[in-house]
């Protein structure tokens, strides 16, 4: 029975994928025909296309379930399962096998796209025609991924020869709890940008009147942006917790690939407000949402084609040209539709003043796009250099630190200034009035940092840190002052307390004040990053009782021990950590050897608690690097990474802000009416 199941699984999976391709193809072709054809049956034809799209989700889901089942049943007749799993792999990682390799992750991508399409097609009554256009665009993208899965990267390909008794195992770097969450979050972000793009494309083709399509896609865009943000930060946290070099961002092409659509997506979230409120930037928004979608695909192309080398790219494969052609075709299609319909995208209003929210959004968008260009340029430059002068160069952290950080600092300045500017026009006096106290607060932070020993003249990195601290403080003070100022106004009108008024202020315009909370979170993340130049590290061969001093801590090696389980054997150090004479904790940095793949892996340990360090200034990070080959003595490397915990706290604030921005607005509270007015006769409407 089990052998029959084992043989049937790849067949079922393959059939499901083929059926999905047929359904997605139907949804695309018939859906498009129904939109073009004005005949009496076109509506019913369109309905069949919508239902085919819904059914495609079912079949892709079936294929995904089959692949996961194959992983859980150790079906090594399927090449993908053999290469990415083994019998003793823990359950959660067997589930994660779905997105751990090339073919599986493409299937997962396709599943998420189908799920987004499923929700969209169920909600079609909001605006049937616009949704029909969006459904066709999503079906077109779906057809591409299903062609890939059926032809070039088949996840159910059968292993040739005899079925091996065990699999090669999952890459040790991926055997970490965050790997069960990080890729789905990232993919939800990548894939999710297809939805606003599909609506934009639909609105462009049908010359959609008004800005309703933006209202419809607003939540999709924010949710997608939230997923991508979480995905990127989880990736950074995974790198910090697993790679053992004490850092969280290495400007690797794979990391850059996720950052590029995030930058343009963030620009779109801002600029779309210009279109909603002022009918401006219509063309720009179209291109921005397309670029975000396109960059998400480009990122996938980068990580899977092998065209650019990266430590954590997927294995080289033949799918690069597929993505290359898809990028070209999608660009050509979008450009064609844009050229045909651009007259529809004329701006409705004029800019009344340079000191206005509109111009701040323009500059904000410019900086986001330039930041994206910097990352794109840096990622591709090694290839360009190889083509032009025949030798490769490295474009690493020093390049990005020198080019991207100044842009980021300007962006931070705009983040602080933007909320102080009103739509249309802001008087210089009002700007000065609202800005002076946040500015004084930021300057005080700068002076305080220098008094505490930050010397910006010693290193450009210190200078950047000081600037970043001041600008982050400026953002935080601006956000607080905006809440307090608005809260006071409501408090005066309603008689509520200040805090209650601030909560009501947020609830009356969740998008605006939720956005400010996101800004606050960004500033906190910046505070977490600006500690980097002050990192300290120490490495030592440590026998029993040996000590190592690092910052305020003394590490004492108590012992070493070993263990063994079916998946890996491991060795770890037992390190007592002292602060002064008091032992504050014991840490267990570990080194594993995974049996199936015979690959070693370090598992660093990280210590930061509010109890010991109220402002979480120090992140103690210890790595058991293994044994010195000559002396046989264990080597411990310790890092003291100032402020890092604030990065993860900042992320939580950003996500909280995003969620609060999605909550519908409340009605305004009734104003407190003076007694003499209550007795006055009512004023008739229109008077």
């Amino acid at each position: 029975m089990s052998q029959i199941t084992s043989m049937a699984l790849p067949q079922i999976g393959s059939f499901a994928l083929l059926l999905a391709l047929g359904l997605a193809g139907y949804s695309f072709l018939v859906g498009a025909f129904a939109l073009i054809d004005k005949g009496p049956g076109s509506e019913r034809l369109g309905e069949t296309a919508r239902r085919a799209g819904i059914a495609a989700f079912g079949t892709i889901l079936l294929a995904s379930v089959v692949l996961v089942t194959a992983a859980f049943t150790d079906n090594f007749s399927i090449a993908y399962i053999f290469h990415h799993s083994n019998r003793d792999l823990p359950g959660p990682y067997k589930f994660a096998v779905l997105w751990s390799g090339q073919e599986g992750s493409l299937l997962f991508w396709s599943l998420l796209l189908a799920a987004y399409g499923f929700i969209l097609r169920l909600r079609y009554k909001t605006d049937p025609r616009l949704f029909a256009y969006a459904s066709v665009v999503i079906a077109a993208v779906q057809v591409f991924f299903l062609l890939l899965l059926n032809i070039a990267a088949h996840p159910f390909a059968i292993l040739e020869g005899q079925i091996p008794p065990d699999g090669s195992g999952l890459n040790p770097l991926l055997q970490y709890p965050e790997m069960v969450i990080h890729p789905p979050m990232l993919y939800l972000g990548y894939v999710g940008f297809t939805v606003p793009f599909a609506f934009a494309m639909g609105a462009l083709i049908m010359r959609y009147p008004g800005e309703k399509w933006i209202h419809i896609t607003r939540r999709w865009t924010m949710v997608t942006w939230g997923f991508l943000t979480v995905g990127i930060f989880l990736g950074a946290h995974w790198a910090y917790s697993v790679l053992g070099w004490g850092g969280y961002w290495g400007w690797d092409p794979v990391e850059n690939a996720s950052l590029m659509p995030w930058l343009t997506g963030t620009a779109f979230l801002h600029s779309v407000m210009m279109q909603e409120k002022r009918g401006m930037l219509k063309t720009w928004n179209m291109w921005l949402v397309f670029s975000t979608f396109w960059l998400a695909i480009l990122g996938t192309f980068l990580t899977r084609s092998g065209i650019i080398s990266s430590v954590h790219a997927f294995a080289q494969s033949s799918i690069g040209p597929w993505f290359g052609w898809f990028l070209i075709i999608s660009f050509a299609a979008f450009t064609g539709f844009y050229v045909a319909n651009k007259s529809h995208l004329r701006s409705e209003h004029k800019l009344e003043s340079i000191i206005s929210r509109e111009s701040s959004f323009l500059f904000n968008n410019l900086l986001f796009v330039v930041a994206c260009f910097v990352v794109l340029w840096g990622t591709w430059f090694p290839k360009i250099s190889e083509l032009v002068q025949g030798n490769k160069v490295t474009v690493g952290a020093p390049f990005y630190n020198n080019v991207a950080i100044p842009v980021a600092l300007f962006l931070l300045l705009l983040t602080a200034l933007g909320p102080l500017l009103a739509w249309r026009r802001t008087s210089f006096e009002s700007l000065k009035r609202n800005f002076q106290w946040p500015a004084a607060g930021a300057l005080s932070i700068g002076v305080l940092m220098m008094i505490l020993g930050v010397r910006p003249w010693k290193d450009i990195a210190y200078f950047y840190s000081l600037m970043a601290a001041m600008l982050a403080a400026l953002v935080i003070f601006t956000v607080i002052s905006e809440f307090v100022r608005g809260g006071r106004v409501i408090s005066r009108h309603t008689g509520f307390g200040l805090f209650g008024s601030m909560v009501h202020l947020w609830h009356r315009n969740t998008r605006r004040y939720g956005g400010y909370i996101v800004h606050f979170g960004v500033a906190v993340v910046i505070i977490g990053i600006l500690g980097t130049p002050f990192n300290k590290e120490s490495e030592k061969e440590m026998g029993f009782g040996d000590k190592m001093n690092l910052g305020p801590y003394t590490l004492v090696c108590q012992s070493y021990t070993q263990d063994d389980n079916p998946n890996f054997s491991n060795e770890w150090a037992i390190i007592n950590v002292f602060k002064g004479n008091e032992q504050i904790t014991t840490m267990y940095p570990e080194r594993r050897l995974y049996k199936a793949s015979s690959q070693p892996q370090t598992i660093p340990r990280i210590y930061a608690t509010v109890a010991q360090d109220l402002f979480l200034v120090n992140d103690l990070y210890i790595v058991y690097e293994g044994r010195n080959e000559d002396t046989g003595r264990p080597i411990i490397k310790a890092h003291l990474n100032p402020m890092v915990p604030w990065i993860w706290i900042g992320l939580i604030i950003m996500i909280f802000g995003t969620i609060t921005a999605l909550i519908p607005n409340a009605a305004p509270l009734p104003a407190r009416v003076p007694a003499r007015v209550q007795t006055a006769p009512a004023v008739g409407a229109g008077d």
Partner: protein
């Protein structure tokens, strides 16, 4: 009120002076140079990590390269000479960023070209938007009432946010 304003102005001015004083004084040191140069070089073992961040046990390169870097600084080699000696020995990919000469210069220039081009575009866009004519009203136009007024009120709500 005037007194309060002038005091706050002076406080801000004083802080600016202190900030400027601290910012534009002082010199670098040898440890900082080692750290700086070490972060401008890559480990060539294939780990794609910055030299001072390579954490491979038994790495055939990183310890030796760090030693070579320290020796170069002890000899008194300047930064350029130190980097050149590494390039000669390990190839161009040993440097963590493109050079500021030859074709490498393009890598550094292009982002700023993009920024300037973008700035110029924004300025042009702003100028054209500001110069856009305001729609003219016909003589004897009546004040707006009813649904149209409501639409403008709605727009005002949206634009003022409060």
């Amino acid at each position: 009120m005037h007194l309060k304003n002038s005091v706050s102005k002076r406080i801000v001015q004083l802080m600016l002076v202190v900030f400027a004083l601290f910012t534009f004084m002082g010199v670098g040191d040898e440890d900082a140079r080692f750290r700086d140069l070490g972060h401008h070089l890559m480990c060539v073992c294939g780990c794609s990590q910055i030299l001072l961040e390579c954490n491979h046990i038994g790495c055939q390169y990183s310890d030796r390269m760090r030693g070579e870097l320290a020796a170069a600084l002890d000899r008194g080699d300047n930064d350029d000479l130190t980097l050149q000696s590494f390039i000669q020995k390990y190839g161009t990919t040993v440097v963590a960023a493109p050079s500021t000469t030859g074709f490498g210069r393009v890598a550094w220039i292009m982002p700023f070209v993009a920024l300037l081009a973008g700035m110029a575009t924004v300025v042009l866009v702003v100028r054209s938007w500001r110069n856009r004519p305001t729609p003219a009203f016909a003589d004897g136009v009546q004040p707006i009432r009813g649904p149209e007024l409501e639409r403008f009120r709605d727009q005002a709500d949206k634009e003022t946010d409060l």
